[in-house]
Symmetry: C3
Subunit: 204 residues, 3 copies
Amino acid sequence: MNTLLPVLDLAGTFVFAISGAMAGVNKRLDVFGVAVLAFAAGNAGGILRDLLIGAAPPAAIGHWRYVVVSLIAALVAFFGHRLVERVQSPVSIFDAAGLGLFAVVGARKALDFGLHPVMAAVLGMLTGIGGGIVRDVLLARIPAVLHAELYAVAALAGAAVVVVGAVLGLPPAITAIAGAALCFGLRFMALRHGWRLPVPRIAD
Amino acid sequence: MNTLLPVLDLAGTFVFAISGAMAGVNKRLDVFGVAVLAFAAGNAGGILRDLLIGAAPPAAIGHWRYVVVSLIAALVAFFGHRLVERVQSPVSIFDAAGLGLFAVVGARKALDFGLHPVMAAVLGMLTGIGGGIVRDVLLARIPAVLHAELYAVAALAGAAVVVVGAVLGLPPAITAIAGAALCFGLRFMALRHGWRLPVPRIAD
Amino acid sequence: MNTLLPVLDLAGTFVFAISGAMAGVNKRLDVFGVAVLAFAAGNAGGILRDLLIGAAPPAAIGHWRYVVVSLIAALVAFFGHRLVERVQSPVSIFDAAGLGLFAVVGARKALDFGLHPVMAAVLGMLTGIGGGIVRDVLLARIPAVLHAELYAVAALAGAAVVVVGAVLGLPPAITAIAGAALCFGLRFMALRHGWRLPVPRIAD
């Protein structure tokens, strides 16, 4: 588990960075702007979490590997955007996997820093959705994660499993796998079936 | 005073969260997006202040009650937005009261953390306007508090009263009440009479 | 050097604050909104850097002089925007100088806080471009520094000189001057000749 987690963490950073880089490519930013968006999408969630729990410097700043992984994602998207678009459906699946992983890792880290369980679940969700929020704010549009198919709520569900497991004293590895699987499953089914949360009924 | 302050603080969070939730409802975000906007509008000002003065984790992250109050505000706005709109004028008055409270509490906390009086006043203002700024950034629009009727300046005036009082050694409770009253009064009169700050004269 | 650096730092803050204030004037914000944009553009880069390296409170919050310099820039832009526009070309040159200075100072401070050289270069770049990013986010538009002529890349180059010099054990004063000069020179030549980084080739 201890050697697997960093690998999974970097994998999650990579798929999120791809989503940011592709968004930058579609807005025709230059190669450097694409790289900034890749880094922001891949790491802003974890950075926000670390700032809020008082873990300075944030992991993504304290080690160079997150920048390198984000750069690779930016180059892949910049030169291979046609290919990436053709495999968009696999990318969505990887993104859902990244979401589950980030939610679980984020909740775990918040618990380790002594936060209240309710807030640990919220911070797990923020770890999952923060990158997408900052990516869309930088592109001057309303964050997709605030209205996409069960995105934030899937992250919250996955984080909640980890937190409830910790309160009940269940083995962390089991609840982490269960939480990530629940988040991934919810998001995957929502994508496939167009599941959405209710929207307010307002007259035009 | 010590038992009253947390109640007032949560009341301020609630009215600001309502403003964020209503903005989300009007943009037809789903119920989860509305909740995120409610939390952001109700707590971003205090979170920014706490990050900048080095109080980690921020109060709104260290205790679950701010999330719960924001959620209640989100549900009220989601299911009762017609009602909330009908009582918009009372909401504006509560919002002005929240502004005065946040400005005063923010300036006080910055002083307690040893900041220079000038910066404590600035941070009091930021506590008051930060939530509205983040709410509008998430909705991809220029923050209303940067051009609304005497909004930021009312918060700065209220915070300045607390700071000047502290420098002069006046009783904190008195200056807190005076500062909140000044901020509320300025904003209330500005709303009623359409008072605005000067805008640059530029040719079209 | 030790007495010159704060002066140069405030000069950089001033030129960046002018750019933020002018953007606010052009969007017809009121005088207070213009001041907020001036402060954000002049100081957000350094504030982000300090939050990320764990230097709380950030320099721009710990001392009142940054607020005062930003306010002066706001008043200059508010009352003298016609004059500022006429001297736009000199302003661009000062902005390039501010960029070089911020990149170098930011990288130096990140190294002093023990960050890895690669991340110190990244944080130097962020110090240079952060103000422009927050300015444009507040105005609800895609940050110009993500697609302008060699802006972020010039900041990165300047910061990299400082970092490489530190790794090689060269005298800090020499590498600081070389880094700032390289950044300034790159940006100046890019402005003059319209140099740009490649943009992705996508079909419409």
